[in-house]
Symmetry: C2
Subunit: 585 residues, 2 copies
């Protein structure tokens, strides 16, 4: 949604918010690290994030890709910077259209710095000279679709001939259609408050977010503040005095910024914008220092929402991608509608391919994780061991899990370890829940005062030999429904309908059933689940290696099975496996 609408809501509920600014990194590894960091910092619940445009548009495509990723595959509302430097109207138009196609709804419109290697700003022959022109252009081309922010300079713009002129330029930008203002960084709260007052005096009533930058190091501070007016001399002096003492600068910076933020908050700002410099710790410390992090932020759904507004009403997903949510989001990104309330009615267009997200950023495994999963495999025991290690928390991710085992599954991890030790390689599961209060902290979702239910679910790979007896057992466990299929497509099942396996009952509301087992989607997921054996895990080995052949054998011969225990009150799915293991070792 538009950030201005979020700001207005926050103002109404008197909540202080914060936002994080990032810049596109230079390498692929840097990019993977940044995206992982953005997601980790996402758990601090910033109201939005923004991504810079790179001097002279030098990172245009990458900026777009990062914004595409965060807007669609995470729940972070993303504002894309856009500058006039080096850009023709046609190019600007194209970028705006791309941003819109990607579901990005917020633009920070800037004139931009002079192009790299130059010192004086010059407009493109067929472009704009002022940010206000860009704001006008966006409004002309896209009406009210985009939320637009513009920059404000509490210390005055370095090129401005006078403070007054600078303020008039800001007014032009707001009058042209900007919704709110983000300020250049500053360290003196008085400077901000007098800026805000002078804005008000000339009729600028849009919200003004103060921009603050933690001091990360002597070097970065020097570099960034070079072009900024009015850095208080005492700040410059203290930093200079500690130039060789990183720890001292760090401590000073945290203190300084925390105090600055507190003063700003006391002075009535709506929120604070952090220039993170792609760094995590300082910002987190400061937010902790200020006690701003909401300590009981409940997920509205058991899965993470996408920030893309077209998914705002999405309220049902198949369970299969629970541990690969980005893959699901990427594969369904082209859908025009998303299932709401019910999966069954929904006329689904085709699912996309696993990796059709630009730059294939849907699967990010830290190197450490890859190293673990890339070790030579001698036999099936080695493979089993890796599944067990994951359940035991010794490995953070696997090719089938974007993230560590969910807390709720940790509750049943002994059962999962048991299954894996018996050669049933688990890739998804959820424990049974019967009327668990939604106020229970760890595993629930949705608003306070509700009741959460789950049917027990477990999904795993199993060898063909073991399958035989499995199938014979099912009829003796009438509360179980299952689907089984191998790579070739030979399948078994005792149910055809869509099965709701997670639902919640809330005060004064209709029923929510966010997770279902859908037989048709299982056919899509099956392709992905089998493909992972070779295209992801197998890609870590030579094709002629024993390791690769082992993985190949499994993917060619094993069955993928999912089981639901429909009796969420009196059932016990593990009895089935215990009985099974008594007979089949």
């Amino acid at each position: 949604m538009k950030i201005i609408d979020k700001i207005n809501k926050a103002i109404e509920s008197q909540e202080i918010f914060y936002s994080f600014e990032y810049f596109p990194p230079k390498t692929q590894t840097g990019l993977e690290n940044l995206l992982a960091r953005i997601e980790r910092m996402g758990k601090l619940h910033p109201q939005f994030i923004d991504v810079t445009w790179g001097t002279g548009g030098s990172t245009a495509d990458l900026t777009l890709d990062i914004c595409h990723y965060t807007q669609n595959l995470t729940d972070l509302e993303t504002m894309m910077h856009l500058t006039c430097t080096n850009m023709s109207k046609k190019e600007l138009s194209l970028m705006l259209q791309k941003a819109r196609d990607y579901g990005i709804q917020n633009i920070l419109a800037l004139r931009g710095d002079p192009p790299l290697g130059t010192h004086k700003w010059r407009s493109h022959d067929d472009g704009f000279s002022y940010a206000s022109d860009l704001v006008k252009f966006i409004r002309e081309e896209h009406g009210d679709y985009f939320g637009i922010a513009v920059a404000g300079y509490p210390g005055g713009h370095i090129e401005a001939s006078s403070y007054e002129e600078d303020l008039l330029h800001l007014k032009e930008k707001v009058d042209a259609g900007a919704d709110f203002i983000v300020t250049q960084l500053f360290y003196d709260s008085e400077l901000f408050f007098s800026f805000k007052q002078r804005c008000l005096d000339i009729g600028i009533t849009a919200p003004i977010l103060p921009g603050v930058m933690p001091i990360h190091s002597y070097q970065s501070f020097k570099k960034i503040t070079k072009f900024i007016k009015d850095i208080p001399q005492h700040v410059r002096d203290t930093v200079e005095a500690s130039k060789d003492d990183d720890e001292a600068i760090k401590a000073y910076g945290i203190n300084l910024i925390s105090e600055l933020c507190q003063t700003l908050i006391d002075g009535g700002v709506e929120g604070i914008h952090f220039y993170t410099m792609n760094l995590e710790k300082r910002v987190t410390y400061i937010l902790e220092e200020l006690s701003l992090i909401p300590n009981n932020m409940k997920k509205p759904m058991p899965w993470r929402r996408s920030a893309n507004e077209k998914r705002a009403h999405e309220s049902v997903r198949p369970i299969f991608w629970a541990n690969r949510p980005k893959s699901y989001l990427a594969r369904t990104m082209q859908w025009k509608d998303f299932p709401h309330a019910r999966w069954g009615d929904f006329q689904r267009p085709a699912f996309g391919e696993i990796n059709d997200f630009p730059r294939d950023l849907t699967q990010l495994y830290p190197t450490k994780c890859k190293e673990t999963w890339g070790k030579p495999l001698a036999n099936f025991e080695d493979i089993k061991k890796l599944f067990v290690d994951f359940c035991e928390g010794k490995i953070a991710r696997t090719p089938w899990f974007d993230e560590p085992l969910a807390l709720e599954s940790a509750r049943i991890k002994d059962h999962l370890i048991n299954l894996n030790n018996h050669g049933l390689l688990t890739i998804n599961s959820q424990p049974q829940m019967n009327a668990v209060s939604s106020d229970e902290k760890v595993v629930t979702w949705g608003e306070s005062g509700g009741y959460i239910y789950q049917k027990a679910y477990v999904e795993f790979f199993i060898s063909e030999q073991k399958m035989d007896f499995f199938l014979k057992m099912f009829k003796h466990y009438p509360s179980l429904t299952f689907h089984a299929i191998n790579k070739e497509g030979i399948s078994y099942s005792n149910t055809q309908d869509v099965n709701a396996v997670t639902w919640g009952i809330f005060k004064g509301k209709e029923i929510l059933q966010p997770t279902v087992v859908d037989p048709q989607s299982f056919m899509i997921w099956k392709e992905e689940a089998f493909d992972i054996w070779l295209s992801i895990w197998g890609s870590l080995y030579e094709k002629e290696s024993l390791s690769y052949h082992l993985l190949e054998d499994i993917s060619n011969s094993f069955y993928l099975v999912n089981i639901v225990d429909n009796d969420f009150i009196a059932g016990n799915i593990w009895t089935f496996f215990d009985d099974y293991f008594k007979i089949v070792k």
Copy 2:
């Protein structure tokens, strides 16, 4: 749906079905009695009912209205008779279009008897001479939309020159597009079986339903069998011998028909068609005798479905019309889509008016009931007493209740009586249910093996004075949500969203939530609920009477209130009232 599809399903599941034929009565009272009877007999779950066309089209409009009523306001699939007698193609076309507009999907196509007062059949100048032409015409004009049945004559048609010619006419009708055959009544099973065999011999493979008529009285037997060939002489003789002994004829008839039906069933018929003559008891006896009535027919939904196919996917309704389902069905009949899975998403067109069903057949109160509710009223105590009497089962219906108190509400009737005795006049309610097995007989719905849930609900009229304190109390009962409004539209509430108050969880299925409290629909219902005081109850009195004035006072000053206890596990809605009565007498 088309009856042939139901027949094919029944054949597949090897279930013997039955159907009931009715004819339009001559008076308004007769009509009201018939409709009430059809609905009572509907509880025997006939596979379909059919309504005759009246000699020479003499009852055309009434036939259409009755079919309209049963097809839309009840769950009885209805087949309309249509004959060629006295009808031009244009008139036939018009009737078929009306039937289609009303959602009627099955036609019994007949040539028809000669017009009243004549003995020889004669075709209309611009009409048809044979039923087969009518069948062709229906197929030409409406393609596959209609299911079509035609008549067969096991004893041969009275006008046919030979049995063979008669069979060839039947074959023409089937070849023209008829789906199945209903036979003229007969009393000799051999006649039927040989007829069926001869049909097969000439290639008629459509299902043939034997038509049987219980013997209701000497007179009716004589009258009806006058034009029917091949009534066995021993049947005629026995009836004749008992002409003055009604009981003997009745007993003989039941025996005779039960045996006939059993022989037909043993001989492999798919179902039996009863010529009920608008009478109830004989048919019920015979079906009981044959043990054909399904003894554990579960409702698929807590409310009764409509037979109209466009409502086939309807799965959510507001609770307000729970006791006036026909009013709800009639008011929403013009909708193109019906809410499914969720009420909230549904873009509702306007609700119709209370009485916009043709001939206003949505409210049928037996005379006895009207007499009770039409007694002079001296004061508010008299009014309270009628509400109490209804809860105690002393009155079968009230202006707000089409039917006696539902069995599930009978479980909370002591509470309801208490409320009414305290002047809170209850018009709707449901008890709390927490995971009640759907196999529990009395109050549940849906398929076997599920769990049913309900939030406690109660709706009543309350005086303005009492309301004041009521409103103050709510905040102390956080699990309650409520809506209150008076005739003028002054309203109070503590909730805005749609609240699911009945839902079910079933094996391998998505969640069903068939009943909701919807604030917007409440505004529509409120008009009806208040209107009933004067337009229905008040209509039984002179406008200047004390009784009328009493009702007028209430409708002008009382509030209509509904309350939901959202805690379906630990809540107790009655505590609220008990606490209230401790303070407000």
